[in-house]
Symmetry: C2
Subunit: 352 residues, 2 copies
């Protein structure tokens, strides 16, 4: 196959980890007879520095001319005092909205080679294997009015039935190909939007008789993620709850530096990025863990291009490098040998 | 001193655990020469069954004629299908709003006798000692408009400067009497209400030069509560974030059955209740852990009545019963001997 991929390295360790992912993808292309074209563009702080906006038209154009987007990370102290429209994160919010990337997908899995370093007891962490499906283009993030004066401020949480339906359907489809269970998280005892959410889940589940559905309040979910993470298969929730719960879930396995994410729409187009941030403190030092970016690239192959074997080969290669006893500095507590970003990538490519 | 206390047992194990707290308080009254008058009233499902509303006028009257409120727990499957205004939790929301109980205070502390059963590694759990200060009468819970049709729904997140100031001041005062650190949690990179929140914290901190302040995004806080809970002293946050984070924090020490809470206003009047729920599955079986209710009563003595020695005696007694190797069924994993609710209470009273 021939595919064009927009690469938005962003800030901090973003450039290093996307470079690593590109190396791995080039190696996959060679082995499997694909051709990948790369379109580099700026986002976040890097874009603010060059264009004075976090998502310039040039970047939108590059993405529109591509089949998928690979992103590094955005943000850093350099831009922390910027006005709202000049902040790196705004680039992320804008690109999600512009491309209607309504479904944020985050697999959360315990990495066997890491169990020793997990803050959870081994027997708890062992079988953690869930996917969080977060609505990404509506809710409190985008609802109007959104205003602030010296004396008061307001944000608005709006959901339409259509917005709920499509994200709920995404979760049901996903559960079908996994363990067949959906946990829908809301705050239906307090919020009207959550009552509508719950009602839509109840309606849509008629179409998926093979999937088991449970409703859970967001406060209970925040507890249960810690006390019984194995109870979850697919979690589906609205934007703000998803932001909080997916970050909480990402640390229970102790493998934050390894977690990929996808932000997709129904036609398969999507943006793929590591769950971790831009880690400006270690940027440019050849220390960053490239696993999350590499595994995000694997998600891209699978979800946007339907290249399942290729994706599986990448995932297996990363796990096997870890099993062989190598890691980057963030995971030194695992007892594995700490190697540089470059060396880790070389090992992954050798294992492909 | 002579004090009148409204007792709202509520549902499930609520009646048993409030009864336990009353026994302990009566014993304190005798030893320290106080007189406590008790005014029993209904709330939650119990009130729905008797009055068809979760917070009847009779209950409001009883609370208004009292110096503080002691509550058990509300809710249960029996009322789960009720219309919104007939649900037990609505009683809780109404009483908070009616009495303007804007500050929800939850100490989260590792219990030494329980460290063996914590889902966190011992060395992490050991020094957890924080207080979560949650705004309780505004935000998404109460903002208007709050509407729902078949096609869309809306909730509104509003905060006024005054509402933020008073809760932030509560947190600063609290930090002063503790380790002197406030972590203010918001989502200032997305929400206008959070930007105002952050601005108010920056302004108010001028009045508390002895207190160290940090701002943290809610998604980072959800991670850091797990990876580094010892980093927190006083956390202050808005209503919905507080709901999620305080439940998350309550499980990291593995002592959910022991955590008390206070919901207070500036003049010292307050409502005291266990953090745990109504646990209908074990109700009426003399199995419930009365510690959270007893420790909530201790918080009441301290915060509403200024009885510091008495509160300290209760806290010490509960810890000493645990140290002596006793617990209720919920904490059987601690290796302590499991005893009934009644027997646990008797032991606490013996230790007073
Ligand atoms: C940077 C921020 C706006 C963003 C969000 O809240 O969505 C981030 O936390 C994320 O989860 O991708
Ligand atoms: C019962 C519910 C409305 C309540 C809340 O969300 O405030 C509860 O979860 C709490 O934290 O006291």
């Amino acid at each position: 196959m021939e595919k064009t991929i927009a690469v938005l390295p962003g800030d901090g360790i973003g450039p290093e980890v996307t470079k690593a992912a590109i190396k791995v993808l080039n190696s996959i292309a060679m082995r499997y007879g694909h051709t990948f074209h790369w379109k580099h563009a700026e986002i976040g702080g890097a874009a603010v520095d060059k264009y004075e906006v976090p998502l310039p038209q040039e970047t939108i154009d590059a993405c529109e001319a591509s089949d998928a987007i690979l992103l590094g990370a955005v943000g850093g102290p350099k831009w922390d005092q910027n006005a709202a429209h000049m902040r790196p994160e705004k680039g992320l919010l804008n690109i999600r909205k512009h491309f209607d990337l309504f479904a944020n997908i985050r697999p959360v899995k315990a990495v066997p080679a890491l169990l020793g370093s997990s803050p959870l007891k081994e027997e708890i962490a062992k079988q953690v294997d869930m996917v969080i499906v977060r609505e990404l283009t509506s809710g409190l993030y985008f609802g109007e009015p959104k205003q602030r004066s010296e004396d008061a401020a307001v944000d608005t949480l709006v959901y339409t039935r259509k917005e709920i339906e499509r994200i709920v359907d995404t979760a049901f489809e996903m559960a079908r190909n996994r363990r067949g269970k959906v946990t829908s998280v809301d705050k239906a005892n307090v919020l009207e939007t959550s009552k509508l959410w719950r009602q839509v889940v109840e309606e849509r589940k008629q179409e998926y008789p093979d999937v088991e559905v449970e409703h859970m309040l967001v406060d209970s979910a925040a507890m249960k993620l810690i006390t019984d993470p194995r109870a979850f298969d697919v979690i589906v929730t609205e934007n703000m709850f998803g932001d909080i719960l997916s970050d909480e879930a990402s640390v229970i396995t102790g493998s934050l530096g390894m977690l990929p994410s996808a932000s997709v729409r129904s036609d398969g187009f999507g943006l793929y990025e590591p769950v971790h941030g831009s880690a400006p403190d270690i940027a440019g030092q050849n220390k960053a863990n490239p696993s999350a970016a590499i595994l995000s690239a694997a998600m891209m192959l699978k979800q946007s291009f339907g290249m399942h074997a290729e994706a599986g080969a990448i995932e297996a290669a990363v796990m096997s490098v870890m099993d062989d006893g190598y890691c980057t500095g963030d995971l030194s507590a695992s007892g594995n040998k700490v190697v540089s970003t470059d060396r880790f990538v070389t090992k992954v490519i050798e294992e492909l």
